[in-house]
């Protein structure tokens, strides 16, 4: 870190982003621990994924920009990957939760000739009954 006003401002910006990112990381994990139902718990870690990791990654970018003088783009890669995969993960988790928490007859009709895809038997499965409730944990 170089001296002078610019170095001080850069250091302050990095420290501020680190504190903000850490705050949102702990908010996300605390929500994951404390919220009562799974659909609410799905909501909390999105803060950790976007704001928390995002803040820490921007702090890292600024830190290496000020120390080495070069722009590092690795962090953007991680940010892009996390932003792309977080909705997919949340969707898959919500779908798995609905699949496990509700019986097949409780689900609303799809309004199409085919039913809910997760209850369809596998295409390669010769026995149509074996694929209905593969992981019934209750």
């Amino acid at each position: 870190m170089s001296g002078g006003l610019l170095g001080f401002l850069g250091e302050a910006a990095v420290a501020l982003l680190l504190i903000a990112g850490s705050f949102f990381m702990i908010v996300g994990s605390f929500g994951l621990l404390r919220l009562p139902s799974l659909m609410q718990r799905l909501h909390a870690p999105t803060k950790a994924t976007t704001l928390g990791v995002g803040g820490i990654l921007i702090a890292s970018m600024l830190f290496f920009l000020f120390t080495t003088g070069r722009v590092s783009v690795h962090e953007l890669l991680i940010t892009l990957f996390l932003f792309l995969t977080a909705p997919v993960t949340a969707y898959m988790l919500a779908k798995a939760h609905l699949h496990r928490a509700r019986l097949q007859k409780e689900l609303p009709p799809t309004g199409r000739p085919v039913g809910w895809a997760t209850f369809d038997p596998a295409a390669s499965d010769p026995d149509p009954d074996s694929g209905l409730r593969p992981t019934d944990g209750r």
């Binding site: 850490s22 990381m25 994990s29 994951l32 950790a48 990791v53 988790l93």
Partner: protein, 89 residues
């Protein structure tokens, strides 16, 4: 100033990791545990980034990227298994 912020960050992310581990322990459903593992991966990525800043080195980025990718693939595979009883049909 950065050293203080890094100490706060390590403490916060470590505490978040402990919260995720408690949720992983409590459950109560397998979906909760998959979600806790996913959040644990996000915490691990943040922890590795903080370590990179603390050591002023850029060699940890590949590790963070790999952990993020493996976490995503692992969570999707868990969900796929819970949905269909099979990962690749």
């Amino acid at each position: 100033m950065i050293a203080f912020a890094l100490a706060v960050g390590f403490a916060a992310v470590g505490l978040g990791t402990i919260f995720c581990l408690v949720r992983l322990w409590l459950g109560p459903d397998a979906v909760d545990r998959a979600l806790a593992l996913d959040t644990l991966v996000v915490n691990a990525v943040a922890l590795i980034m903080l370590l990179g800043i603390a050591q002023a080195t850029q060699i940890h980025f590949e590790a963070a990227l790999l952990i993020a990718m493996l976490g995503f693939v692992g969570t999707v595979a868990f969900c796929k298994f819970m949905l269909r009883g099979d990962v690749i049909e």
